[in-house]
């Protein structure tokens, strides 16, 4: 089939994920989410809608939050992709992950990875966001269980924790 031939000729064979090059073999129009989940078994990023509306698939690309379900792997190039799997460092939770546990900011937790990735990105760009700023920034993340108030509280708690510990916000590169 001609389509198949064209795709074969331009296969993507490597992307940078969580600080290391990863070998893959996919057509360039494959969604980044599918590559992460199905090729690399990084299943922390979730499929929730496929149209960039729910935020469950949020990853960082060069530190910026992106809906990996609408990003084609061919458009990523050598940019650094960070997934939820790399937010915990050497067995130590990121302050936002800890805050999610402390506050109990989850029910089914299917949205949690995406929420944490968005929150990590927010805290990087704004280390001390107000509740309104958090709600506005995270408007693209859906929690069907309705734990929004607790998620806002968790981001606030993480901001406080990071301020007192003097730690930089999340690592995204």
């Amino acid at each position: 089939m001609p389509v198949q031939t064209a795709a074969q000729s331009a296969r993507i064979t490597e992307i940078q994920v969580n600080g290391a090059p990863r070998a893959i073999d996919v057509a360039p129009d494959t969604s980044l989410l599918s590559v992460l989940r199905d090729q690399l078994d990084l299943t922390g990023s979730k499929y929730g809608c496929g149209e960039g509306q729910c935020g469950a698939c949020t990853v960082l690309i060069d530190g910026n939050p992106r809906h990996s379900c609408t990003v084609s792997v061919g458009s990523v190039g050598k940019r650094q992709i960070t997934t939820i799997e790399a937010i915990e460092q050497n067995g130590r939770l990121h302050p936002l992950q800890q805050a999610f546990l402390d506050v109990g900011a989850m029910q089914c937790a299917f949205c949690t990875s995406g929420m944490i990735m968005s929150g990590v990105a927010l805290l990087k760009s704004n280390p001390d966001p107000t509740e309104e700023q958090i709600s506005e920034y995270m408007q693209g993340n859906i929690c069907r269980c309705g734990t929004y108030t607790r998620i806002v509280a968790a981001v606030r708690q993480a901001a406080q924790a990071m301020k007192t510990s003097g730690k930089p916000a999340a690592k995204g590169e």
Binding site: V3, Q4, V26, A27, T30, S34, R37, D38, Q39, D41, L42, T43, G44, S45, K46, Y47, G48, C49, G50, E51, Q53, C54, A56, T83, I84, E85, I87, E88, L93, Q97, F100, L101, D102, G104, M106, Q107, C108, A109, F110, C111, T112, S113, I116, I134, S135, E136, M138, Q139, N141, I142, C143, R144, C145, G146, T147, Y148, T149, R150, I151, V152
Partner: protein
């Protein structure tokens, strides 16, 4: 629309909620217990009552009665390493029962919370369970687990006393150890279990620790395994991967009720690695990766013939009123249904009469994890991992679809990405299994969001007609309440009315419909509490005082007063453009009252919710943090159905099957919500995942009425950008 699938997909509204009969093959003989679980101590709870309760009023579904019902409700195993493993057919869907059930077990067995492991929703390992719905886990399974754990604790004390040759009355259980305070001897549960092969069956009568003395239960505890969720490590069904696994895709009909005229699979089949299946009306593919599966699906040439004409969302309410099914049933739990003469008398005695119609649109559950299943055939046996609220029900569906014995089918339910009543069925499991059988390899099938919005089922649309009468002093004289299609939950009025009738009328719904969080109680409370508000206005009484005057039930009165107090009801008048509303009700052993403040822009008629206060009481509180989370979640979910969620459909197609077209509550929709919990330690705990949703919509509607004088009688109330039309 169901007849073109290779298996039965009967879904009916909640009134006939899916109470599958107990079809359990308890293929684990009690004597074989040690073979499976190793040595230790096992306690089984014998409960004929529990099984009968689960059967509900409408058993006998799908003629699956051939198997003898199991009399075992749950069991618990104390392993030689001291682990306490609890086996229950209930499942974790985000309501955090994995945590709260472990709490009550820890309480009764006097062991650390961390030593409790829960094995849930695995049809091979756990006892039969009808399903996780209807807010039954806490009152039924919670109670049964308390009894099992309590009996296990007694057994441990007896074992220790016997070993030491002392009176059992003097040994004490605490912290996972038995201690004899006089001789200071102590032994851990694990040590006591070593070398034992002891199985004990107990009846449902052992005494329990009174909630007032709870140490572990009654405390706020975070989600068990929370760390796995914040790190992305937890494997939901959709994350599961087996060696050699293929990815499935299903060809959906062009519209509801369409039938397959012809299909050409040859182009799909020609793609390397693809298995294409055409079996009756079922058409699907499996491929080594999702992209190839999509390509194969697109390569199928199919011709569909449209089914009979179907109504659209525009004429749905007329349709529901004019397409009644036979066999209507009176509603209301045990309430007297008055005759039409009695209603006429009541109306004649009234100073004010009121007639109004309320409507509710179809809405979708839209759980964030769509339906997913991984199916594996091995040696003629089928294993399926799937997200469902009814693993045993799905096992029945699989056994029937593939004409095999249920003990050859195993269904496992990894903690899932929520359900809200929307995942009672196993269609995705059956589809994955059909593909896997053809491919001879395991197959994973994850529904797309559009499939989930289209081929799952919906909360029923409905029409509710109310006719009522009230005296000038606020006494209700007549109450006639007809619910068409939306369901019978919460249909009976809690208010005292001499003459009342509250029938439910079944309708042949054009859309597939089924259970949803709170079931019809949301629609019925919306209608009743909006109507009560209008009656209060007719007799010029304060809405709170009017309700209290007509309520006898002290538990409803208590939540109503608690919500009013927290809200500051009656303390001040609403500011210009603002309005206050209040509503209350009871269902499934829970009691809720909600007060809301809204502001309506005079020029744009735009509505903004300023504040919501919800007071809730469900007996003794097991986990205050989990309960608060559930009440809050119910309110937030309720905002969607109250304000803007509605499924649109036309010509047998869903017109808005995406999150970009179907608005669900988001961060900025969530206004300050205050939750007041009443802890009744003297009352057996009831479930809490559903009832708190009921009073939100009428509270908001009543607040909008208070602000504007406009009564909104349709859910959702403000679908067009939160503007009153």
């Amino acid at each position: 629309m169901n007849d073109k699938l290779p298996y039965e997909l009967t879904i009916e509204p909640e009134r006939y909620e899916l109470h599958a009969p107990p079809v359990h093959h308890f293929d684990l003989d009690r004597r074989d217990f040690t073979k499976l679980f190793g040595a230790g101590i096992a306690i089984f709870l014998i409960s004929k009552g529990a099984v009968a309760r689960q059967q509900g009023e409408s058993g006998g579904r799908r003629g699956a009665e051939q198997s003898a019902p199991s009399d075992i409700a749950t069991w618990l195993h104390i392993a030689e390493d001291g682990a306490i493993i609890v086996y229950t057919g209930k499942v974790e869907i985000g309501q955090n029962i994995r945590t709260s059930l472990a709490q009550v077990v820890a309480e009764e067995i006097h062991a650390p919370f961390e030593s409790i492991q829960m094995v849930m929703g695995d049809t091979r390992l756990t006892p039969y369970d009808a399903g996780t719905f209807g807010s039954q886990t806490t009152p039924q399974m919670g109670m049964q687990l308390r009894r099992v754990a309590s009996s296990a604790c007694d057994t441990l004390r007896e074992l220790a006393a016997k070993q030491w040759g002392v009176d059992v009355a003097r040994v004490v259980a605490a912290g996972g150890r038995i201690t004899d305070p006089q001789s200071k001897r102590t032994i851990s549960y694990g040590q006591l279990a070593q070398g034992k092969a002891l199985a004990k069956a107990i009846p449902e009568t052992d005494p329990l620790v009174p909630p007032a003395q709870w140490v572990v239960a009654g405390k706020p505890l975070g989600k068990v395994d929370g760390r796995d969720f914040v790190t992305g490590r937890h494997k939901y069904t959709s994350d599961k991967k087996l060696p050699g696994m293929l990815y499935g895709k299903i060809l959906r009909p062009a519209s509801f009720g369409a039938t397959l005229v012809s299909v050409d699979m040859s182009m799909a089949q020609a793609i390397p690695g693809v298995t294409a299946v055409h079996d009756g009306e079922f058409v699907g593919v499996a491929a080594p990766d999702p992209q190839t599966a999509e390509r194969a699906l697109a390569a199928i040439r199919a011709e569909w013939k449209a089914g009979p004409a179907q109504p659209s969302h525009r004429e749905i309410f007329t349709f529901l009123k004019t397409n009644l099914q036979a066999g209507n049933r009176g509603g209301g739990r045990g309430q007297e249904q008055s005759s039409s003469e009695s209603i006429a008398e009541g109306l004649a005695a009234a100073d004010h009469k009121l007639e109004a119609t309320y409507t509710v649109e179809y809405i979708a559950h839209a759980p964030l994890e769509p339906r997913a299943a991984v199916a594996l055939w091995e040696n003629g046996e089928l294993t399926v991992w799937t997200g469902t609220q009814r693993p045993f029900g799905v096992r029945s569906e699989l056994a029937q679809a593939f004409r095999m014995a249920e003990d050859k089918v195993r269904v496992l339910m990894p903690d899932m990405g929520s359900g809200y009543g929307g995942k009672h069925t196993g269609e995705c499991a059956v589809e994955a299994a059909r593909l896997a059988r053809a491919a001879g390899k395991p197959v994973k099938l994850v529904w797309t969001r559009e499939e989930e919005f289209t081929w799952a089922y919906f909360r029923p649309a409905g029409v509710i007609d109310i006719r009522s009468g009230v005296k000038a002093d606020g006494t209700l004289t007549a109450w006639e309440f007809h619910n068409y299609n939306s369901g019978g939950s919460g249909i009976g009025t809690p208010y005292t009315v001499a003459n009342q009738t509250t029938p439910f009328h079944a309708v042949a719904s054009p859309l597939r419909q089924g259970s949803y969080r709170g079931l019809a109680a949301t629609a019925n409370h919306f209608a009743r509490e909006s109507h009560m508000d209008d009656l209060a206005a007719l007799v010029r009484m304060d809405p709170l005082a009017f309700r209290l005057k007509n309520l006898q039930d002290d538990r409803i009165q208590a939540v109503l007063k608690a919500a009013a107090d927290q809200f500051g009801w009656g303390k001040s008048k609403p500011a210009a453009g603002h309005g206050f509303g209040i509503a209350c009700g009871t269902e499934k052993g829970g009691y809720v009252a909600t007060a809301a403040e809204v502001v309506v822009d005079a020029a744009t008629r735009g509505v903004k919710i300023v504040r919501v206060v919800a007071a809730f009481e469900c007996g003794a509180i097991v986990n205050p943090d989990g309960l608060r989370n559930q009440v809050m979640g119910s309110i937030v979910m309720g905002l969607g159905g109250a304000l803007f969620e509605a499924i649109k459909f036309e010509n047998g197609r869903i017109s808005n099957p995406k999150f970009s077209m179907y608005r669900v509550p988001r961060f900025q929709d969530t206004q300050p919500i205050e939750v007041v919990l009443l802890d009744r330690k003297d009352i057996v705990p009831a479930g809490a995942g559903e009832t708190p949703i009921m009073a939100l919509a009428p509270a908001i509607g009543n607040a909008i009425f208070s602000a504007t004088g406009t009564r909104l009688r349709t859910l959702p109330m403000v679908p067009s950008g939160l503007v009153i039309s």
